[in-house]
């Protein structure tokens, strides 16, 4: 089967509007999570990772005079514009496009017209802006969307539907989602602490990102990083509670390893979902142990970005690509002391380490799970 490479990417987040800026901030262990006072989102102060509106407007004005776009649309259009600017050889017209979002412009439910609250409106906006002759496909699969979109892009290329696929992900930190997670009593009163004994819940975040997948090795300019295996499996257990046995995640990891023709001891790093809710992190620890991955250095990037929903697994996969290129591991921010029942190897401090293969996982409401093996190819 064809190899599918992640050849270029961009991240628009509170940690910067380029992947480089994001990586620099991760390396400094800077977090985008701050105390937020914004009455449009919540009546009281809360911790979350929001993109500064003025900073976004300034970045937007450089590429467009038209301010008639929603915040999310600006984030996503900016992300893709930067990717195209930095990669003139990418032909967006010929590429397949998968958009990953859970709630899109959900804030538009508040107004008089809810036209933009329909997820396909984002697809049309991107189509029109970049003058595409085909409509991008929107994937909305809860918190695994960003990772599953990469898997879908890879499969489309391997089925020879396209030579190139661009995955664009994005979600906002909205009153809609924050109020929902508060109603679940799942929001942390301080910046989230994945896998830590003192964790109490999630911090939400907002971000957009995009990644260019290609089967053409000539597009690879840095180290060749490919998606060597991918799988998704449902827990078939509960719609909001993670499986007690980590069933779907375990199946996903096992199948992804099998496709990549790897054993668990060949994985150098896990960039986990790690939302910092008590049940999620516990479930992940169980699944990693079942898969024999308990000693592999692991982190969650939620301590840096918060949970960015449809963007999260995409961003974390992009960061994994750069960790493979730079041979470095980032500390799992917020972590102090192991707080899950099974032993796992949480990265307490940044490290430089030769990396060849990273496992990216994500799990979400509806019992869905995804695993990706991101591999550095020795050319």
């Amino acid at each position: 089967m064809k190899k599918v490479y992640i050849v270029a990417d961009n991240i628009i987040s509170p940690l910067g509007f380029s992947t480089e800026e994001n990586i620099t901030n991760l390396r400094s262990n800077c977090t985008g999570i701050q105390k937020v006072e914004d009455d449009n989102i919540w009546s009281e102060t809360f911790y979350g990772a929001v993109i500064n509106n003025d900073k976004l407007s300034k970045a937007w004005e450089i590429i467009s005079e038209n301010s008639d776009y929603s915040k999310l649309e600006k984030m996503m259009l900016l992300s893709l514009s930067k990717l195209l600017e930095e990669n003139p050889q990418l032909d967006i017209i010929k590429s397949g496009i998968v958009i990953s979002t859970t709630k899109g412009n959900i804030n538009n439910l508040r107004g008089k017209s809810d036209e933009k609250a329909y997820l396909s409106s984002i697809s049309r906006t991107i189509q029109k802006y970049f003058k595409l002759d085909h409509t991008p496909k929107v994937l909305s699969n809860a918190c695994i969307s960003g990772g599953l979109a990469l898997a879908i892009g890879k499969r489309m290329i391997q089925s020879e539907l396209f030579e190139d696929v661009v995955v664009i992900g994005g979600d906002l930190l909205s009153e809609f989602t924050l109020s929902g997670f508060f109603s679940f009593q799942a929001v942390s009163p301080a910046p989230c602490k994945p896998f830590c004994k003192n964790r109490t819940g999630i911090s939400l975040g907002e971000a957009a990102a995009c990644a260019w997948l290609s089967s053409n090795i000539e597009n690879v300019t840095k180290e060749a990083i490919s998606i060597a295996g991918d799988a998704s499996a449902n827990d078939a257990n509960h719609i909001s509670g993670p499986s007690r046995t980590g069933e779907g995640l375990y199946i996903s990891i096992t199948k992804a390893l099998k496709e990549a023709n790897l054993d668990s001891d060949q994985i150098d790093h896990i960039t986990a979902h790690g939302t910092a809710t008590p049940y999620n992190d516990e479930m992940e620890a169980i699944a990693f142990n079942r898969a024999g991955l308990q000693n592999v250095p692991l982190n969650s990037l939620k301590g840096y970005y918060g949970h960015t929903l449809g963007a999260s697994a995409l961003i974390e996969s992009i960061v994994a690509r750069h960790c493979l290129i730079n041979n470095e591991l980032f500390a799992s921010l917020g972590y102090e002391e192991l707080g899950v029942s099974k032993s796992i190897n949480v990265i307490a401090k940044n490290q430089n380490k030769e990396l060849n293969r990273v496992l990216k996982t994500a799990s979400g409401f509806g019992g869905c799970n995804v695993a990706l093996i991101i591999e550095k190819e020795v050319l």
Partner: protein, 204 residues
């Protein structure tokens, strides 16, 4: 990569207060006053004993009932049976209920039982739980039923070995307007899977 012929072995339509299986009407309730009542009628007709059904939102109920009709007396599903669903309105029907509960700060009552249904892929979670399907799921949002893309992606799953069978289709609910179509794709059957055939069955 293996490219095989695939078939549409069964299909189900729920539309205009009627339920069809493989093109034949199996249930109708012209008296139903709401989606909720209509769904309850189908549940009774199918003689289901599944208390979880009553907790579902209306979108999930419709998708779940269509899957029950589709799989009745027939298909064996397992870890290799993928779900590929799509719609236009995502979970907006329930999103609006959640929005209503947070619209007014003086009267603020968001509920986890509602919020959990503000994602369209929950339908696939419900179908997976009922049938113990620990399989591939993907939910796409498109303006109309995109037979071309759904056929292509289902074939991709089977060609790349991610699934041996696929339950694919369209489960849409928006302001009381609903439209449901599910098809079971496998390596056996009489109707060969093509985008034209899938679209024809959807439009029956």
């Amino acid at each position: 990569m293996i490219r095989e012929k695939y078939y549409i072995s069964d299909f189900c339509v729920i539309r205009d207060k009627k339920v069809f299986k493989n093109g034949t009407e199996v249930y109708a309730d012209s008296e139903a006053l709401s989606v909720k009542d209509f769904a309850k009628g189908i549940y009774k007709f199918l003689d289901l004993k599944y208390p979880k059904f009553h907790k579902m939102d209306e979108l999930c109920k419709l998708g779940f009932l269509a899957s029950e009709v589709l799989l009745k007396d027939k298909e064996k599903v397992d870890q290799d049976t993928a779900l590929v669903l799509s719609n236009q309105a995502s979970s907006l029907d329930t999103d609006r209920k959640h929005q209503l509960s947070i619209q007014d700060r003086e009267n603020f009552y968001p509920s986890p039982a509602v919020f959990v249904y503000t994602l369209p892929n929950i339908i696939m979670g419900e179908i997976s739980i009922k049938n113990k399907m620990k399989s591939e799921n993907a939910f796409f949002v498109t303006d109309n039923f995109d037979a071309d893309f759904i056929t292509l992606y289902s074939e991709v799953l089977m060609n790349t070995g991610k699934a041996t069978n696929v339950i694919c289709g369209w489960v849409d609910l928006d302001n009381d307007k609903y439209d449901v179509f599910l098809a079971f794709l496998s390596k056996k059957g009489n109707k060969e899977l093509t985008k034209e055939e899938l679209n024809k069955l959807y439009k029956q």
